[in-house]
Amino acid sequence: MTRTYAVDPWVEKPLATFVDEAGARLALLMTPAGQVIAQHGFTRAVDVMAAAALGAGIVASTGEVAKLLDEPLFSVLNHQGERHGILLGGFDTPRGRMVCLAVYGPESSPGIVQLFFEEFSRDVRDACPAPEAPKQVLAADFERELNESLSALFRT
């Protein structure tokens, strides 16, 4: 059975609900920098990291296009292929902006995924705790925190 895993437990339920209702096959919640917060459906860490990096790259590119057009940030981007489609949507939370990458198949549709993405972003905003005080980033902690995050995302 495919499971939803999250670095922060409060995000697990909203993501699982979104995946279930939207009929998404894969989903990734991350920061615009590509730091993964939660995932559903991925089985290999390398796939998560690649998807997060590519998603963050798309968000950065469309952000620059928005600047050129003198527009606020685009909220949702949708690409539809023959067998799969992707939705890449951003929203603000008390802990800063978050980005969701969802991959869906022909059993769903852009309209359905977009509809439930809006509900998902509201659920995440509501569930999101207040931001933590910024900590000093130490090189010694970096690898440990990275390993803890990967462990949480794959329950290894």
Binding site: Q80, S108, S109, P110, G111, I112, Q114, L115
Partner: protein
């Protein structure tokens, strides 16, 4: 919205009891054009109606009835009516419970033909 679509939707919303009408891209579940009263969540109705038609298509195919042409979903506080057109287009109406279903169906079929 283009004047052509507006005219097509107006013929549906003129029916007494109709609270809104939409042209929906059936595969995408996205709104092509709409004419809705306040309080009707067009995006949600479009996405869910197209999903409903897809599931209904599985049921009609399994029963040997062919592709669904008309869908009427009666709720306690209103009704959802939809007609599939060619070109993957769906014409959807949201109506009050007391609406003349036959008349709305006729206008939806005419609208689907006009869009095609």
């Amino acid at each position: 919205m283009s004047g052509r679509f507006q005219g097509i939707l107006d013929t549906i919303t003129r029916v007494r009891g109709v609270r809104g009408a939409m042209i929906v891209a059936c595969n995408d579940g996205l709104v092509v054009a709409d004419s809705l009263m306040e309080g009707v969540r067009g995006n949600a109705v479009a996405a869910l109606a197209s999903s409903l038609i897809k599931h209904a298509a599985n049921a009609t195919a399994a029963s040997g009835a062919g592709a669904p042409q008309f869908l009427h979903l009666q709720g306690s506080r209103g009704a959802l009516l939809a007609v599939s057109g060619r070109s993957e287009i769906l014409i959807v109406a949201v109506a009050e419970p007391s609406v003349n279903v036959g008349l709305v169906r006729l206008e939806l079929i005419r609208a689907a033909e006009a869009v095609n």
